[in-house]
């Protein structure tokens, strides 16, 4: 479970709640546009130590078959995963 993108974006007066209370984890926008470099995982080199998963401030690296993968919808491209990776399995590549 984690906050996820919703199709419905509340905008009209009746959409807007009567109080400042709303369903938890309600996302309507991605963060992909924040990025000018993206982490690319070399699955062969990855040793599955999960340090990149642990240290990611956005929590966008997830466990994937003993290795890891990235949710590019929400990765901001900070590069912490690359610096933390002792196996050298992550490269930052320019977005085009």
């Amino acid at each position: 479970m984690k906050p996820y993108l919703r199709e419905h974006v509340p905008t009209t007066l009746s959409d807007i709640p009567n109080t400042t209370a709303y369903e938890a984890g309600y996302l309507v926008t991605k963060n992909a546009g924040w990025r000018n470099v993206r982490p690319v995982i070399d699955v062969e080199a990855c040793v599955g130590c999960l340090q990149c998963y642990l240290y990611c401030p956005d929590g966008v690296i997830y466990k994937d078959g003993g290795k890891v993968a990235v949710d590019y919808d929400f990765c901001k491209g900070c590069g912490i995963c690359k610096t933390i990776c002792k196996a050298g399995a992550i490269e930052m590549e320019a977005e085009t």
Binding site: Y22, Y26, Y53, G59, C78
Partner: protein, 297 residues
């Protein structure tokens, strides 16, 4: 007690937020919530983490979460805990996440009150050493020498002239059941402390150093490294206070170079050799005191 990266739950509770790339504070919040789990109620005062996490309709907390007033993190935690207990609900964690200004300056009164009452809450201070949400102004946890927008470094005054307030020991002086320091450079240590705190009744306080790449003048991929280095060079220490005793969790065999640590950061670029000597002397004095007053594990 065995939380580790292998056993940490995969649910994410702080996701899709708009914190700066490489934000140390968001990492502290994210990891603490993964340790505490879905039955945690998070209180965040007006500040970075609430500003980036709660912008209707982009609501980035998967668990129950609420923004408090800037000064009211602890008092709102008190009300939440009491309100649920009054309804017979006790299987939850009331956890606060406030920055250095929200904790050591404007929020210290409410925090002190909550500790005094020994309310059953966990208060986590993510310390990025200045008011970052408003654009890097000095707080009482800004270290000596740091340049901020209200302590500019010029030819007359070289940044902040006052040392960092010791919140950990101030909190401990209340006789709190549990207090600890941590760093986002040492997450295993932090996770263990959050887990331990979650099992203790009464008020718990964890002070985690969480660098801000924007405010510290470092690259976005350096946050974790610098948070490790500040511990390794002895300018921050990992410790606990429990049953009236201080324990040092980690004593570097040899300190890494303070000059290297400082000169990596934009906020310290202006420091002279004399300033660095002053900082080194004060570190050595602190460690003399630590060796005398703290049990060393």
């Amino acid at each position: 007690m065995s939380v580790s990266v292998k056993t940490l739950q995969e649910d994410e509770f702080f996701y899709g937020h708009k914190a700066c790339a490489g934000c140390g504070g968001s990492l502290a919040v994210r990891i603490a919530l993964k340790v505490l789990g879905e039955r945690s109620i998070a209180v965040l005062p007006a500040g970075c983490m609430s500003a980036v996490g709660f912008n209707f309709p982009q609501l980035c907390f998967g668990n129950n979460a609420i923004i408090s007033t800037f000064a009211g993190t602890a008092s709102m935690l008190t009300g939440i805990e009491a309100g649920l207990r009054a309804q017979g609900i006790t299987d939850f964690h009331a956890v606060g996440f406030a920055g250095d200004g929200g904790t050591a300056d404007i929020g210290i009164q409410a925090l002190s009150g909550a500790i005094d009452r020994n309310d059953d809450i966990l208060y986590i201070c993510y310390d990025n050493e200045a008011y970052m949400n408003t654009g890097i102004q000095k707080s009482s946890l800004t270290p000596f020498g740091a340049k901020t927008t209200t302590t500019p470094a010029g030819s007359n005054i070289r940044g902040n002239l006052r040392p960092k307030k010791n919140m950990f020991e101030i909190v401990a002086a209340h006789g709190i059941p549990y207090a600890a320091t941590a760093s986002i450079g040492y997450l295993n240590d932090f996770m263990g402390k959050v887990e331990k705190a979650s099992t203790i009744k009464g008020t718990k306080y964890i002070h985690i150093l969480a660098p801000c790449p924007t405010g510290w003048g470092i690259a976005t991929d350096e946050t974790v490294e610098i948070a490790k280095e500040v511990v390794d060079c002895g300018l921050w220490y990992l410790a606990e206070f429990e049953n009236g005793e201080f324990t040092l969790n980690h004593k570097p065999k040899e300190f890494t170079d303070i000059r290297t640590y400082l000169k990596k950061q934009g906020r310290f670029k202006h420091l002279t050799e004399g300033d660095i000597e002053t900082i080194t002397r004060s570190r050595d004095q602190k460690w003399d005191a630590l060796s005398k007053n703290f049990k060393i594990r």
